[in-house]
């Protein structure tokens, strides 16, 4: 799975390089997130601006990550649009994950 990461203070910014997050690459996404969390990253900004489609399996990976983090951690989603945003809204995940239009906005919020 394509992605890039960038550490901004205590916040880890992960930018997904895939256009689709679905059953085929959901396990990789889960491993990536769980791995970073186990490494001590509890403030993660997941940039989804390149993602045009996300299914319930990928959503399961995000849910798994937030469960792993516990109540003190934050998994912020950035750039969710179209079907991705629809899915988040349908499942009310927009209430579980903080959503931001851009990574800088998320960083401002998290670091502030």
């Amino acid at each position: 799975m394509q992605f890039s990461e960038d550490h901004q203070g205590t916040v880890l910014v992960l930018e997904i390089g895939e256009s689709r997050l679905e059953a085929s690459n959901a396990p990789e996404l889960r491993e990536l997130l769980i791995g970073r969390i186990e490494n001590g990253n509890h403030q993660i900004v997941l940039d989804l601006k390149l993602v045009t489609f996300m299914d319930s399996s990928a959503l399961g990976a995000l849910i798994g990550a937030i469960k792993k983090m516990g109540p003190l951690g934050t998994l912020a989603l950035v750039g969710a649009t179209g079907p991705v945003l629809q899915l988040l809204k349908l499942t009310r995940m927009d209430k579980v994950f903080p959503l931001f239009p851009s990574a800088s906005a998320a960083l401002n919020k998290l670091e502030g």
Partner: protein
């Protein structure tokens, strides 16, 4: 053409060449040997011929003396037959020699011998007749006759020499000495004969003066010296003997002759001086015979030595040939045993490898290092081939095991799928609601499931579950979710709170398990209404009798995400002719070959476009549309659609 045949041809050519070389060399050496053997025979014949010539010279002198001595009674008589015998022997010996020319010469000698023999008899008859005149006449004729025969023999002797040739200086020396003997003897005999004739003052010619007789002595002396010097050039070993003769002639014979002449001059002691002179002549004759014998011994010894050395050469060549052939045969054996046979064996081994016959051939050890290397390499190939074969066998076995495990798993999955399908009700009527369904799992086991059942009079429950993912894990969770949701609906009191029931389901859902989305509906046919709780599931579509379409609800948390999640209950009208479409996201999230999602909007539009169709027709179109979009059997997610229709 193979290696064996090529080597056979090459070695045959080599062997034949060797044989040809040996044959030519051998025949040359054999000819040399034969020639040496012939030389000995020819030498014997020549010696006989020499004896005959000397004999004839003596005979002629004797015959001459018979003429002069007639009346004096001192004649010694001639033995021509001895010379004839010598000639016959020479002739016989030469007959055995292979050379044709020599055989011709042998025949000539034979003819001369026969003629001489005949003549000897005639001569003897005349001599024994006692008629003085006849004897004198015969003596004169015989002298010429013998001289003629002698000359012929000398010619033949020359011819033999021409035929045989002078091989080396030793043989040349021998020839020279023999010629010397002939010359000296001739001169001596002539001298004696003429001197005696002169002394007798006979009828042979005019009486000679003493001066003339002395001149002849000088001639004899001169010829002797010339030959003596030449002999010295060729063969020193015989020089002593030759010198003895030469010295004898010079110091004894000629002085005796001079003494005789002086005595005649003085007229005193003539008889005694004559006897001394005759004795000296006989002694010279013995010395000549002695030289002849020494020369013969010498030449025979030399020729024997030549023969022995020729024989040695022949033996050496035979030894060399046998050795060469043995080495050749040994080479053949080595080439066959250590090169050709192993190569053949390797060829067969390689063919075995090619044909997959991997049994080891005999563990023979090879003599040549490179053959050993190749055989070792072949052995390694064989071992590798065996290993590869074993590996292939193991892989095939493993593959068979995997295939078996897969079959077993498939069969388990199918059995599980049957159980799962058995959970889902068949299309049909429950109370006054007709349920039609469309269900297409992406795999054998599905993450989707649904159920509808009567709760109590007038109340009908409907649920649809979608567990994230699909396959065995999703299928098992799906069964658990199905049971949980069914229990929640069944335990609901007629006026009970549906949202609370779902909340309880969520609260007790094991957080270790995958989350799922759910739609739970309770229809109340007596009131013409329905209640619904949506937990992360796509919003159902309500199609009213007049064809208008509404989406129910705007989302909700899935079950198993947040333990204390709250859910809302939505109340909606559901009267005769109204339809409720409940579906999982699979129905609009399948992709086509260009990875394009069908999309929810497109699906809703599809429903709106087909609002007037019967439910049965609609479901058929759903299947067609799905197959057209994703291709038959290419679903990436489970698809389930339940249509509830109030009648």
């Amino acid at each position: 053409m193979n290696i064996r045949r090529t080597l056979a041809v090459l070695l045959s050519i080599f062997g034949i060449s060797l044989l040809i070389v040996l044959f030519y060399l051998g025949s040359a050496i054999y000819r040399n040997y034969q020639h040496s053997a012939e030389q000995i025979t020819i030498d014997v014949a020549r010696n006989h011929l020499l004896t005959a010539v000397l004999g004839l010279q003596n005979d002629r002198a004797q015959i001459a003396l018979i003429g002069t001595a007639v009346g004096s009674g001192s004649a010694r008589g001639a033995s021509l037959s001895q010379s004839a015998d010598e000639m016959r022997r020479a002739s016989e010996i030469l007959t055995d020699v292979g050379n044709v020319r020599l055989q011709e010469l042998s025949a000539a000698i034979g003819r001369e011998a026969a003629a001489l023999s005949l003549y000897a008899d005639e001569h003897a008859t005349v001599i024994s007749s006692g008629n003085t005149d006849d004897i004198k006449a015969e003596s004169l004729a015989a002298s010429d006759r013998v001289e003629l025969t002698k000359q012929r023999l000398l010619t033949i002797r020359q011819a033999i020499l021409m035929e045989v040739g002078l091989n080396d200086t030793t043989i040349g020396g021998v020839h020279m000495i023999r010629s010397y003997i002939v010359t000296v003897n001739d001169a001596l005999q002539l001298d004696q004969m003429l001197t005696l004739r002169d002394l007798a003052g006979s009828a042979f010619g005019q009486p000679q003066t003493i001066r003339q007789i002395e001149d002849r002595s000088s001639a004899l002396q001169g010829s002797d010296r010339v030959y003596r010097d030449l002999v010295t050039l060729f063969d020193e070993s015989i020089v002593g003997t030759v010198s003895d003769l030469s010295n004898f002639i010079e110091l004894t014979y000629l002085p005796a002759k001079s003494a005789l002449l002086r005595a005649i001059d003085a007229g005193q002691n003539v008889d005694a001086a004559k006897l001394d002179w005759l004795a000296a002549g006989d002694e010279a004759g013995r010395l000549i015979s002695g030289i002849q014998a020494s020369v013969f011994d010498r030449s025979q010894a030399y020729l024997d030595q030549q023969l022995v050395s020729a024989l040695r050469m022949l033996q050496s060549l035979i030894g060399l040939s046998v050795g060469g052939m043995l080495i050749f045969v040994l080479s053949l054996y080595i080439v066959e045993k250590h090169i050709v046979a192993p190569l053949e064996q390797m060829r067969l081994s390689m063919l075995d490898l090619v044909h997959g016959k991997l049994e080891p051939r005999g563990g023979e050890t090879f003599w040549l290092e490179d053959i050993r290397t190749i055989v070792d390499a072949l052995r390694v190939f064989r071992v590798t081939a065996i290993r590869r074969e074993r590996l292939t066998r193991e892989q095939l076995l493993l593959h068979a095991q995997i295939a078996e495990a897969h079959r077993s798993l498939q069969s388990d999955m199918k059995a599980a799928a049957k159980v799962q399908l058995a959970q889902m009700p068949a299309p049909g009527d429950v109370d006054q609601i007709r349920f039609s369904t469309f269900f297409a799992p992406a795999n054998v086991l599905a993450g989707d499931t649904f159920d509808y059942f009567a709760l109590s009079e007038d109340r009908v429950g409907l649920l649809q579950v979608d567990v994230a993912g699909h396959g065995a894990a999703a299928g098992l969770v799906s069964v658990a979710a199905h049971l949980g949701a069914r229990r929640a609906l069944r335990s609901l009191k007629p006026e009970g709170n549906l949202a609370e029931a779902v909340k309880t389901l969520n609260a007790f859902w094991n957080p270790e398990m995958t989350y799922f989305t759910l739609v739970a509906v309770q229809f109340d046919t007596s009131k013409g209404r329905g209640r619904m709780v949506q937990a992360g599931h796509p919003s159902p579509v309500l199609m009213r009798r007049n064809g208008s379409i509404t989406r129910l609800g705007n989302g909700g948390l899935p079950i198993g995400v947040l333990q204390d999640a709250e859910f809302e209950e939505i109340d909606f009208p559901f009267d005769v002719g109204d339809k409720l479409f409940v579906f999982s996201d699979g129905i609009y999230e399948n992709s086509n070959s260009e990875k394009e999602i069908y999309t929810e909007e497109r699906f809703i539009q599809f429903l709106a476009d087909n609002a007037t169709c019967s439910t049965e027709e609609l479901l058929r179109k759903v299947r067609e549309t799905l197959d057209a979009w994703s291709g038959v059997g290419n679903l990436s997610d489970d698809v389930s659609l339940v249509v509830a229709e109030r009648f």
